[in-house]
């Protein structure tokens, strides 16, 4: 079975249905137990869906928007659409209706597959102003039975239509298989709208060939086989989830597990026990916060054991993993630690069967990275982009350092232009930005080089080191380089700090705006009898300011040790009275900071930070609640100074 024959995802599905007929392809936890579909069953489901969609008028070139949590039938819709030549366009499920309307209109989507009533309501609201949507399909029936709208049908009905078609006309299935076998790798596989940290989000068009290359490279790097199993819990609109839970799964035949709901993802993960795991740094940060908060409440003995063996791990864990030489006593202690703390901890995280774990999408804080490697989890950081079908550079085995993203992947050429921006050329490169030739020409040069938009440098070991988004890379007034991400990651290591935004571009010194973590600070407040009834009240509490000051001092001490970074020490900070949230546009849906919007919306606070005379600053900001209702969040925020060594 040479590679050429299986050059589209639908052909891969047909192959899997024969070669791995009885291997489980997809599992979904529903009503407490895991429903299982083997590859053969998945093919039947996809054919029924595909023929059903055809009945509802989906034809070649149509765009199908997919909105919702990770559900098997939403993944199968992708394959079913590609079989008809249509193009799936997954969107972020936690976006507000208004934000979705802009993208649906810009892409000219004609069909929408919504997961449940919540998403269906948003789309119905959008239909008020954007009339092009021909039909809406929904997966979860709850609450939708009584909707009297004729342009709304459930996927059960679609599949019913598809199956009855096959019963009436025996050749329908064979005809579908023939069309699929004629599928061209050059055709468009999918359009992914980037979270767009700078400006409006852009629709990245990826061909089947480029995604196929990405999938093969990914599977080779992690040695994925059909025996592996992974969790699908990341937003389906993110290239990381698409390549990992769709493309690579079809290519290598491993099983994808969908949790019952986002809230139960951790517990479901512990049940399934994935062998390969991929997530953005935010997920790893939350795990550490969860652990530290719970260990605060643990009994005396447990806390003592935990802290003692954690130090052993921090000291010696990394090199044990890289099997460098370690003193006998340390190795013994580490072994004891394994039995008492590390294995049980991995068990609680659901990481016991993990062969390799990846992090990407954003630079991970070195302390967070080392925390997991010290526990014996084979965490690796790689650098990728939606525009590059994910893989650009990867940390090779044995050479894993917390501040680098490894070496370029086989088949990818990398170079730095004069302003330090990273450019790359790869078979996984994207075709274009949909309906946006102007930005496409800016991003893609004639010889096929693509501008990554990230500032980077090569360190002594030949590894690539990503400094920050090129646009965000600033310069202090004394001309020294100011990488905000580097400082923010150091701050975010502390469980009390959920989000941080650093300022310093064209300024004399560095200042920071902090978002406290309600879970960690709330449990601290309960233990110290600090009374609060809302997030804003807690954020304004002087004791909380003092606690954050202690963290900032620690970060400053760390920055001061290295000559290159001592100028980055933070001089003043404030705690924001509301949480930065994607609904207010301050964060992307993968919780990356939108600096341009924050600089403009909180300008009055930033100026106050740089005006030594001011110790307080009033701020009034519009905010949106969950159901899109607008409200006003105002407060008088204190500004604190920090001495610098």
């Amino acid at each position: 079975m040479s590679h050429q024959k299986h050059d589209t995802f639908c052909k891969l599905l047909v192959r899997n249905a024969e070669v791995y007929a009885h291997v489980p392809a997809m599992r979904e936890k529903y009503l407490g137990i895991w429903q299982v579909w083997t590859w053969a069953q998945v093919l039947d489901e996809v054919i029924a869906l595909s023929l059903g969609y055809k009945e509802f008028g989906v034809k070649e070139g149509d765009l199908i928007a997919i909105i919702g949590n990770n559900r098997p039938r939403l993944y199968w819709t992708m394959c079913a659409a590609q079989a008809l030549g249509a193009i799936p366009v997954p969107l972020y499920q936690d976006a507000v209706a208004e934000e979705m309307r802009i993208i649906l209109e810009k892409a000219g989507v004609t069909y929408v597959v919504a997961e449940d009533q919540e998403q269906a309501d948003k789309v119905l609201q959008i239909q008020g102003s954007y009339k092009e949507i021909a039909h809406i399909f929904y997966d979860e029936k709850r609450g939708l039975e009584k909707y009297p709208i004729e342009g709304l049908t459930s996927l059960d009905e679609v599949q019913e239509r598809g199956r009855s078609l096959q019963n009436e006309d025996e050749s329908a299935r064979q005809k579908w298989l023939n069309d699929v076998s004629k599928g061209a790798p050059k055709s468009v596989a999918i359009i992914l709208y980037t979270s767009g940290t700078t400006g409006a989000s852009k629709g990245v068009v990826l061909t089947v060939a480029s995604l196929m290359w990405g999938a093969r490279v990914g599977n080779k790097l992690s040695e994925m086989t059909e025996k592996d199993t992974v969790m699908a819990f990341l937003p389906m609109a993110w290239v990381g989830d698409h390549i990992f839970s769709y493309a690579q799964s079809l290519e290598a035949g491993f099983c994808v597990n969908c949790p019952e709901s986002p809230e139960t993802a951790l517990a479901d993960r512990r049940e399934v026990g994935p062998t390969c795991f991929f997530a953005p740094p935010r997920i790893y940060e939350n795990l550490i916060t969860l652990t530290l908060v719970r260990m605060h409440d643990a009994g005396q003995v447990k806390r003592l054991l935990f802290n003692f063996f954690l130090d052993v791990a921090q000291r010696v864990g990394g090199n044990v993993l890289n099997n460098e030489t370690v003193r006998f006593i340390d190795r013994l202690l580490y072994m004891m630690g394994k039995i008492i703390i590390y294995t049980p901890l991995k068990n609680r995280y659901g990481f016991s069967r993990l062969r390799v774990a990846y992090t990407a999408g954003e630079a991970i804080g070195p302390d967070i990275f080392n925390w997991f490697r010290a526990l014996g989890i084979n965490l690796k950081q790689f650098y990728g982009q939606t525009e590059a079908s994910v893989y650009v550079s990867m940390q090779p085995d044995g050479e894993i350092y917390s501040d680098s993203v490894g070496k370029p992947v086989e088949g990818v050429e990398v170079m730095l232009n004069e302003s330090g921006e990273l450019l790359y050329r790869s078979p996984g490169a994207f075709k274009e930005y949909y309906n946006n030739p102007q930005t496409t020409s800016v991003a893609k040069t004639e010889e096929g080089w693509i501008h990554s938009g990230d500032a980077a440098l090569f360190d002594g070991r030949g590894h690539l080191r990503i400094m920050d988004r090129a646009k965000d890379l600033g310069l202090l007034n004394d001309g020294k380089v100011f990488p905000p991400k580097y400082i923010e990651n150091k701050l975010k290591y502390y469980p009390e700090i959920k989000e941080a935004v650093a300022f310093g571009h064209h300024r004399d010194y560095v200042t920071v705006m902090i978002n406290i973590d309600l879970l960690a600070v709330g449990s601290w407040a309960e233990r110290h009898n600090v009374h609060y009834s809302s997030y804003q009240e807690l954020a304004a509490n002087p004791d909380v300011y003092a606690m954050i000051l202690r963290c900032v001092n620690l970060v400053n001490k760390d920055l001061a040790t290295d000559y290159f970074t001592s100028h980055l020490q933070i001089k003043r900070f404030l705690i924001l009275h509301k949480e930065l949230d994607a609904d207010d546009g301050e964060l992307t849906h993968t919780s990356k900071v939108r600096r341009s919007l924050i600089n403009e919306r909180y300008k009055v606070l930033i100026d106050a930070l740089y005006d030594p005379s001011k110790t307080h600053q009033f701020i009034r900001v519009e905010m949106t609640y969950e159901d899109g209702r607008k409200g006003i969040a105002e407060g008088d925020l204190a500004l604190w100074d920090v001495e610098v060594t």
């Binding site: 009898n529 600090v530 609640y625 409200g631 969040a633």
Partner: protein
Amino acid sequence: MILELDSIDVVYDHVIQVLKGVSLQVPRRGIVALLGGNGAGKSTTLKAISTLLQFERGEVTKGSILFDGVRVEHSTPDELVRRGCVHVMEGRRCFEHLTVEENLLTGAFTRKEGSSVIADDLELVYGYFPDLKLSRHSLAGYVSGGIQQMCAIGRGLMARPRLMLLDEPSISLAPRVVEEVFEIVQKLNHEQGVSILIAEQNINIALKYASYGYVLENGRVVLDGEANELRNNEDIREFYLGIAGEHRKSFHNVKSYRRRKRWLA
């Protein structure tokens, strides 16, 4: 202030944390309402004040309770009654095998005065609750819910309290009876100067009589204010009174997903 709670924490069985940092004040001769759904921690708060908690394996682990300026969170129920703080428990809890009059007399257990003074008090209670006089000799177990509720309040009154804690008096009573009971309670407040702390789910009626209110939600005070302020607070109307915007909230288009409530600003 006759009663002050300063960020008390209550834990059951050393494990289950029920109240987190609850603070409230009851002014002398005032009527204050403690509002919230079931499981919000209203009864627990009252039991913490009357120290009945210790008999349910519950304890106040942090914060303090001042009654007339004296810390009482670690004293005993009978001491509280002697100081003049009586707790009328949820579900009335009359002594079923004793007659209504015997119930009232047990209310005066802690009183040292002679039987003649207690007899006068008995007449006073019958004055406020005329129906009680009619069924004074029948077993409390057999009388109607309304009578039982009046008997429980009357029993509390017999101890000549300066503060009465009423735990959901409106429960399983017909609206007309609830109105009647609350009218009498208000008369008590005006004439006898008894300050009242009412824990209620029925927010409508509670806010009609109380001057100040606290909203409890799973163990935390999430909102407090003057009664009329609370009455037209937009979130209270939505979640507790079921009024969305101007018209009454219709429940036939209830969503299958839950809107996350944010008590901000």
